[in-house]
Symmetry: C2
Subunit: 189 residues, 2 copies
């Protein structure tokens, strides 16, 4: 399951430099400051890292329990989504976003309404299952520069579906709270 | 405001040893393993700590956005609660709890129903405002041994009200998900 629920959180480090399993194809700013270019990226789970002289930049986050998903949504997602690491998942997008403090000051009920009833965050993502696997990492509570790091994996033939998915999310009311977004595309070579 | 909402999360370290602003009066296990005894406790905000040879044990967590509180609850709390650090707040309780994985596997809507509609978590705490100040720290996502570290402050004359507050919480359905709880009482001397 690519949505992590129930078991222990996993700390995940995304390390950009000259090493790593994925080749960085491009890094684009969608809103706000971009990130420095680098050749490759690695995803390292479960350990706190020492600084590596080769590292251009690194981001970290943790998988956690569902924050908005209700029972029927969770049941649908679990039934349809597939794991990370499929052999066909040669294309990856890592999309760090930060939301304005106005978002974080909202109570839970108002964030839920914006997130799903107005912006259909879960419903839109569901339409692209199982083609596009996804894992969310929470980053804000670690004092990191982004609030969320979302990792998407898909086969090359699903590239245009993926572009449609991100474009739809970016048109929502939820996204009006995003004040920084970087779009990092990777290729498993 | 003692409930942190909106602004940046604060990383907080609770360090037990021979130093610190608070004298440890007693450490009691409510459920599961206790913590080692120590003389004093300090609360250190905002930095990652190096190991101190004097440290008996330490716990860390972060303040964060509201996870269950709705608009009307948040408005009521903000209007009535008082800050930490009042001169009269000579008594403190630090109560680390861990919840079973069954809790963390529940979707948001079912956790909310247990938390408030069934267990009246916010409503009970509200009855003890402004006497008892409170700050919640999230710990589970840091791979810590507890999920939450709650810090309560009150004047000596509110001690029996505080005992009533914790006793009421412990009788709720929400607390049936708690599989470890330690009750640490401190005195500012």
């Amino acid at each position: 399951l690519s949505v992590h629920h129930g078991p222990e959180p996993i700390l995940v480090n995304f390390v950009a430099g000259s090493r790593g399993k994925w080749k960085i194809d491009r890094i684009t700013s969608v809103r706000g400051d971009t990130l420095p270019s680098a050749g490759r990226l690695d995803m390292i789970e479960g350990t706190e890292l020492d600084d590596n002289p080769d590292t251009q930049w690194s981001l970290r986050g943790f998988t956690s329990n569902p924050r908005y998903t209700n029972r029927s949504e969770l049941t649908s997602l679990v039934a349809r989504q597939e794991d990370l690491g499929r052999p066909t998942s040669l294309h990856v997008a890592l999309i760090p976003i930060r939301k304005r403090s106005a978002w974080w000051g909202l109570p839970q009920d108002e964030r839920r309404i914006i997130f799903e009833e107005q912006s259909h965050h879960v419903r839109i993502g569901f339409e692209y299952l199982p083609s596009i696997s996804r894992r969310l990492h929470h980053s804000r509570d670690l004092g990191q520069p982004f609030d969320f790091l979302t990792w998407f994996e898909y086969a090359p033939e699903d590239s245009s579906a993926f572009e449609q998915l991100v474009a739809r999310h970016r048109r929502t009311r939820e996204w009006s709270f995003v004040d920084r977004e970087v779009d990092i595309r990777l290729i498993r070579d």
